[in-house]
């Protein structure tokens, strides 16, 4: 366990984007707050302290505060990150916070990721496609544990939106599935319980809104808080797309 005690705590300066669309008098601007650093201080603790002691109107989102719910994506000194697991001890004296781009702004640091991700799931039909109804009497279908682990690898995405915010394509093409969307597609593509075949998937993913829209800057791979292997995901999708294309000819 790291010890983080020192005689005089660091004075941190938080420059935070402010705009309340519900307030006709509000205009977008940056506002600065100062705070003494405390041991193990995360942005979750810091922002709540600012709201409770300095500015109760400040909007931001946290829920689980343990990096599993994906609520608290925000731009931290220009880089998308989860606020809850960003420790101030890893940041410079000045911390600049903006809302994630791409998503609709709700207010200050709060953005509407829920609507974006529901649309993505609807568009890619990211659920198990099967003709088989569930049989409550039957033993579960078997699955090799290695395959279960491979599916689980992609399943770990928490839809925080950090990858989407970091993506050059998602920032300009609103129809692009985005890294999280492509990862979700790959997760169902490798799941034998999903009846969609290569040709079905080809229609979904082998186009400019799908994996061929990616221009390979790979910021997504660098910023993903769950360290999803997105590079491998795109390679898998391209490989499957090409195979389907050859099969079609």
């Amino acid at each position: 366990m790291k010890t983080q005690e020192s005689a005089t705590p660091r004075r941190l300066s938080f420059e935070i984007f402010r705009y309340n669309p519900e307030d006709p008098e509000s205009v977008p601007h940056m506002q600065t707050y100062e705070l003494d650093e405390a041991p193990y201080m995360s942005l979750y603790l810091a922002l709540n302290q600012i709201r409770e002691t300095q500015d109760p109107s400040l909007q931001f989102d946290f829920a689980c505060r343990s990096a599993i719910c994906g609520s608290c994506g925000m731009m931290v000194n220009g880089r998308p990150a989860l606020g809850c697991r960003t420790l101030t001890s890893d940041l410079p004296d000045v911390v600049r916070l903006h809302p994630l781009p791409v998503f609709k702004l709700i207010g200050d640091l709060s953005v509407d990721t829920g609507t974006w991700f529901r649309e993505m799931v609807e568009k890619s039909e990211a659920w198990i496609h099967t003709e088989q109804p569930f049989d409550p009497e039957a033993t579960e279908a078997r699955m090799d544990d290695d395959l279960a682990q491979a599916i689980y690898e992609g399943e770990r995405c928490i839809e925080c939106g950090c990858c989407v915010a970091s993506c050059g394509v998602a920032n300009v093409n609103k129809d692009f599935f985005g890294p999280a969307g492509l990862n979700r597609i790959a997760r169902f593509m490798m799941d034998p319980r999903d009846a969609r075949n290569d040709s079905d998937w080809f229609e979904v993913v082998a186009n400019a809104d799908g994996v061929f829209g990616c221009i390979g800057m790979m910021a997504c791979h660098d910023v993903c808080p769950k360290e999803l292997p997105l590079l491998e995901v795109y390679a898998y999708l391209r490989r499957k797309s090409l195979a389907a294309a050859f099969a079609k000819r």
């Binding site: 109107s57 505060r65 609507t115 770990r156």
Partner: protein, 647 residues
């Protein structure tokens, strides 16, 4: 812009696993369903459940011979006989189906690997040959208080995987979800619920949703313990609050609060029981494995209430590691090895790395017991129908259904969400099919005016007054220090008085911010009084219950008292009444007679009545407390005596 009044067949309040699984059942039956959720459903607190879901599939060697009767025995013993035994029985029989259904919906359950496997069991590394004929079936891990390995899991993100699968089904069915929306008031006419008033957390606007049936699935109320909880910030218990505010729907067993042994110190982030299930140790400051002395049989895998008490006692005895944030103990996973920690306990590995900067393969994890689960909640019958209020249902942690009694076993609540969701959803669908929307819109609009008026009142208050956050912090300190793991009459009386004073403060509190829109301070202020009322009935219920049962431990009444307290606390408290009204109903029909749990103390005060006497008229007595009729008669699914060949 939302209209002032909208309608649906079924209104589900809460977008976690219980609410969504319920919604699927109702939507599949052809009903129009709307879900209200504080957050996008996939961010609900179900996603934070880590270790597993109990279901007696019996797929691995250490689960061989498992069955629903063994699961029933473990669950009732775990509850310290506080559970409704018919509900526990229904749950145990339905859990395997619910788990397999999740496999059908896409959950990547960890699977049995046929052949040689290496496990850590009671401090020993052992090699076990898993049967090849079970290769690829759903795997189990060990958990506290169970006779067999029974918890089905997807690494240490079981809740996340289950929630995503169920939410995908919700989206596939095209179910309407209004996220960032909070239910703030039930619409009812005194004995029939007709939906709820909602507040939009984007705009601050109020609107009424009238519905033929309303389901509350808002999870637990851990945040009445302030920061001393593993719960998410959204677990403020508002579902229980709006039910209690009716004055006629009782909450059950609010004093039954679970403290999880291993919350990460000092942030109180959950570290799954699966760590101990997979062979982790608890150590004191001298690196002594004290649970082996305390519970030679179950060791670290006694039930959570028992382990938390031993930990707290150990720290009281000066064996905790002292820090500026208070004492903690250690969780030792080093012997499990990095390969295990980065796969089967991957999320734990990440939490340790991200929040305290340590590698559990090489370093000890600082842990302390912390509020974790609310056994209490909206009292419902076995169909999930709330007492005294037709058309109102509850499921999951928000409900007191009541399969957990005074202590829930790890992995039983995650399974409960989907089992209850299936059952209650079906009952809701049947209820809705047989009813029509028959409510005067004035009733709904009046409820909306009441709710909007409360917000307006907060904004009108001026002058000096306490801050809502200071009141919340004081509530959390009182609850953890005086309504915690060890309780006694003096401290509980102080707690009741302190919460009472905070309720008075709440009426004088003033907002610092009057900004238009959702206004985060106002949004919290609107919940504060309800949270204080929950805290009050929790403390008061604990004061009144002069015995120790499960997680409710009274140092001044250390024995379980089956002669006087084999019952369930009910509390009603109308929104405008000065004080709550407590009453007590039988726990339900008793099949498994009260006895020793197999861990913890074997001393208790025995029942005076025979089981037959206790069971006589038990259902009629519950009906006097408001239990509504069930579709099937009560007791129809008891399978009386089915457990007998396993004891």
């Amino acid at each position: 812009m939302t209209a002032e009044l909208i309608s649906t067949d079924v209104l589900i309040i809460g977008g976690g696993l219980a609410g969504e699984r319920c919604a699927i059942e109702a939507a599949a039956a052809g009903h129009d369903v709307m879900i209200l959720s504080l957050v996008p459903p996939r961010r609900s607190h179900s996603c934070a459940a880590q270790g597993g879901m109990q279901a007696a599939l019996g797929n691995c060697v250490k689960a061989e011979g498992d069955n629903t009767s063994l699961h029933f025995l473990d669950t009732v013993r775990g509850s310290d006989w506080g559970a409704d035994q018919e509900v526990a029985r229904i749950f145990c029989e339905e859990a395997p189906v619910a788990v397999r259904e999740l496999a059908h919906l896409g959950v990547p359950w960890t699977r049995v690997r046929g052949g040689k496997n290496s496990y850590v069991i009671k401090g020993e590394r052992v090699e076990i040959e898993e049967r090849m004929e079970n290769d690829g079936l759903i795997m189990h891990r060990d958990f506290g208080g169970t006779a067999k390995w029974r918890a089905c899991y997807a690494a240490a993100a079981t809740g996340h995987a289950a929630l995503y699968a169920v939410d995908s089904e919700v989206i596939r069915l095209g179910i309407t979800v209004r996220d960032r929306t909070e239910a703030v008031e039930l619409i009812h006419d005194g004995d029939r619920c007709w939906g709820a008033v909602a507040r939009c957390l984007r705009t601050g606007n109020h609107f009424a949703v009238v519905a033929k049936a309303t389901v509350i699935a808002t999870g637990g109320y851990g945040r009445i313990y302030g920061q001393y909880t593993t719960n998410a910030t959204i677990n403020e218990g508002m579902g229980a609050v709006i039910a209690m505010n009716t004055g006629i729907v009782p909450l059950g067993n609010m004093e039954a609060v679970q403290f999880h042994p291993t919350a990460l110190a000092p942030s109180n982030i959950l570290i799954t029981e699966g760590c101990r299930g997979d062979g982790g140790y608890l150590l004191d400051k001298d690196l002594h494995r004290f649970m082996v002395d305390a519970e030679p049989e179950k060791q670290e895998l006694a039930s959570r209430d028992v382990v938390s008490r031993h930990m707290k006692q150990r720290m009281r005895d000066g064996k905790g590691v002292e820090t500026p944030y208070g004492p903690h103990l250690w969780l030792d996973l080093r012997h499990l090895g990095e390969a295990h920690l980065t796969t089967k306990l991957r999320e734990v590995f990440e939490i340790c790395r991200d929040f305290v900067g340590l590698n559990p393969a090489h370093e000890l994890i600082p842990v302390q017991p912390t509020q974790h689960y609310s056994m209490g909640g909206i009292r419902v019958n076995k169909d999930g129908q709330a007492y005294n209020m037709a058309g109102l249902f509850a499921a999951g942690e928000a409900a007191c259904w009541d399969m957990h009694g005074f202590n829930r076993l790890g992995g039983n609540s995650l399974a409960e969400t989907v089992v209850a969701g299936r059952i209650v959803g079906k009952k809701v669908a049947e209820f809705v099919a047989a009813t029509s929307l028959d409510v005067r819109t004035t009733v709904a609009l009046e409820a909306r005016r009441t709710a909007a008026g409360r917000a307006a009142n907060w904004l009108q208050r001026t002058g000096p007054g306490p801050s809502v956050y200071a009141i919340r912090n004081a509530m959390g300190e009182t609850m953890m220090s005086k309504v915690g793991i060890f309780r006694n009459g003096d401290e509980l009386e102080q707690a009741v008085a302190e919460i009472s004073a905070l309720l008075a403060d709440c009426d004088k509190a003033v907002l610092q911010s009057k900004v238009p829109g959702m206004n985060p301070e106002l949004s919290f202020a609107l919940r504060l009084k309800g949270m204080l009322r929950l805290a009050f009935v929790t403390a008061n219920g604990a004061l009144l219950r002069t015995e120790s049962r499960g997680a409710h431990y009274r140092s001044d009444y250390p024995l379980r008292n089956d002669a006087e307290w084999l019952n369930r606390t009910l509390v009603r408290w109308a929104g405008d009444a000065a004080e709550p009204v407590f009453s007590y109903e039988p726990v339900g029909e008793i099949d498994l007679p009260p006895g020793h749990r197999g861990y913890g103390s074997d001393e208790r005060i025995e029942m005076r009545d025979t089981i037959e006497q206790y069971n006589e008229n038990v259902y009629a007595r519950q009906a006097q407390h408001g239990r509504l009729d069930t579709v099937e008669p009560p007791g129809s699914r008891m399978h009386r005596g089915a457990w007998k060949e396993y004891v």
